[in-house]
Amino acid sequence: MKPIIEIKNIGKKYKIGVHRGYLSLREQLASKTAHAIKSLTRGNKNNDKENDEFWALRDVSFNVNEGETIGIIGRNGAGKSTLLKILSKITPPTTGKIALRGRVASLLEVGTGFHPELTGRENIYLNGTILGMTRAEISKKFDEIVAFSEIEKFLDTPVKRYSSGMYVRLAFAVAAHLEPEILLVDEVLAVGDAEFQKKCLGKMGDVAQEGRTVLFVSHNMGAIRQLCNSGILLTEGKIAALGKTDIVVDAYLQTIATSHPTDGGVIASNDKFGIALKKVDLLNNKGVESPVLQAGAAGFICLVLETTSPQKNLLVSIAVNTLNDTRVCILHTGISDNRGVDLQPPAARLLCHLPKVPFLPGKYRLHIKIAEANGDTIFNVPYATEIAVEGGDFFGTGKLPDVTWAGVALVEHTWQVT
């Protein structure tokens, strides 16, 4: 059987300065004139032209078979969104050819085309037709959409009076009821609160289970690992890795880890004590630097410190907060270790070992405090750094908690009947 998506040598060229923002006619005329004068005086035309060009994608080729769910990963500006925009026909490629064998729907944003003055009911029709449904299809699914969005009571209220949560729920409800054969999804999970993100992930999982073909762009490696059978890593517009999700995600994490800035920066310091916190690293269970911790696996939070003189009996604490500033826990040397930390100059690494990372996938902020043995603060760094935790097999059962269940921590437990 032919692949459902065939992508051959796709390239996309932008002219720098033109693709961002618009030009007024005067500016355009001015630059044309300047250009003409320059080429008259210097006699070369093509040099500037080459420099103004930028390839967002270059020679990208791959095939997708029906029913596959592919995660597209890469850093910002690697070309992920450009690729989805080309596949959704929003912008044409400069080179190459794509064959799509099925109905395509793209979800590059939640709530595209929502009009604030129109009611929820009206916006369901508006947004639905914009996403490619017919009015008949929407009418058929109308009740389902409303039930999913949980906004029955406000169906005839203009959406400008909705809370942002209601707005996003309604928007996602419409999108979730598209029934394309090929679904293109861009980082839509980045909007909304944690609970909503989890609901979206759950729905995405369902879509993948139903045998549709999904191309999914995300920075959430946990979601990618959970949903996708294979992955594509884009680096500077080219395919850097392609294959099994785990391998591609690891390759991506490696590229991030190796590019950590080592600019001698300091997060916090105290000159009187001669102590400085240089950076905070995460190490995986093998002690190798990693941008994320994996739930259920071992991991280390590593504080890279410098000191000019030997230090005795320091109290070090790391407070872990969610992005909403809910305290998850405090990791404190004085309590869990029941002793202070000794440091020798010039530099030391203080490792906090988590034998089984108990956090749910997501992002957390670390507040770091170092104090003397008597409790006097040496320095206190709120929001010292942000860390990411990806999903993992915490309970060793091969099952993950449903992503729609809210929470922040995984708690070890057993069940028995007595």
Partner: protein
């Protein structure tokens, strides 16, 4: 959503209009048109009354200024207010179509960058709002005709679709061209109101076309470039019926309006694929 098996390639030099695709998206066209109409007078006190108020008040003020003060007459004995109102209606239909469609692509830039659909739908829906306005404010014309005792000639009523077709082709042609231009050069936003204003005075709206007879060169030029002149003239003779319809000038206007339309359409199609990149 797109049909089975589609190919995406760099844009070709040769342009063709995908009518079948446009037809497949007819629901989107209807819903967008309905959105534009229903959103317009939300949270206004007078609501739909504004559609009527605008031309009626313009008529009152213009009658006073141009007829009473400046002494401009309809030339054939038709009462000036109804003479003026007929012209105003068609001119407003024309100018709001041009205006709406010229601004439409920029106004919907966020949509264009996030979803694919035939781009033509957006400027095309601009026609519908202007058309609804025309239909509503025509009611006043009917009332005025009854008041002044005008019975339109049958042929006068029969040519209305033709007249509207000419106006729509012309307005949409100009609008499509300006809509694409506006995506790249926002100068359009500033230049357009000015040119529409000029257009109003070089079109026989407040004065009869017969006044141009003294300037044969200007009259020929108007006839060739400005289909609105003969459309308004045709509507007046047809509905208010003091002379015979000038079929030859209407034929020229129809031809010119088709040229405008095709030019706008092809210019739009040639540039549309890059809208998402530069909007």
């Amino acid at each position: 959503m797109q049909s089975k098996e589609s190919i995406i390639e760099p844009p070709k030099k040769f342009i063709h209009i995908e009518w079948r695709e446009f037809w497949a998206y007819r629901d989107l066209f209807l819903v967008m048109a309905w959105r534009d109409i229903s959103v317009r007078y939300k949270q206004t006190l007078l609501g739909v009354l504004w559609i009527i108020l605008q031309p009626v008040m313009t008529m009152a003020v213009f009658t006073f200024i141009f007829n009473r003060m400046a002494g401009i007459e309809s030339g054939d004995g038709t009462p000036y207010p109804i003479f003026l109102y007929t012209g105003l209606l068609l001119w407003q239909y024309f100018s709001s179509t041009v205006n709406n469609s010229a601004q439409s692509m920029v106004a919907n830039a966020s949509l264009i960058q996030k979803v694919y659909f035939p781009r033509l739908i957006i400027p095309a829906t601009s026609v519908t709002t202007a058309f609804v306005d025309l239909a509503v404010s025509s009611a006043i014309l009917v009332v005025m005709m009854a008041y002044y005792g005008f019975m339109p000639q049958l042929v006068g009523v029969a040519i209305i679709p033709l007249l509207l077709l000419i106006v729509t082709f012309t307005a949409l042609g100009i609008g499509l061209f300006l809509a694409s231009l506006n995506v790249k050069y926002r100068d359009v936003r500033y230049a357009l109101p000015f040119f529409i204003n000029i257009g109003f005075y070089v079109t026989p709206v407040i004065y009869p076309a017969a006044m141009l007879d003294k300037y044969p060169v200007v009259k020929t030029l108007f006839l060739c470039l400005n289909p609105m002149a003969s459309v308004i003239n045709g509507a007046r003779t047809g509905l208010l019926g003091r002379s015979t319809i000038e079929w030859d000038t209407l034929a020229v206007s129809l031809f010119v309006s088709i040229i405008y339309f095709l030019f706008g359409l092809f210019y739009f199609r040639r540039t549309e694929s890059y809208f998402a990149d530069i909007a």
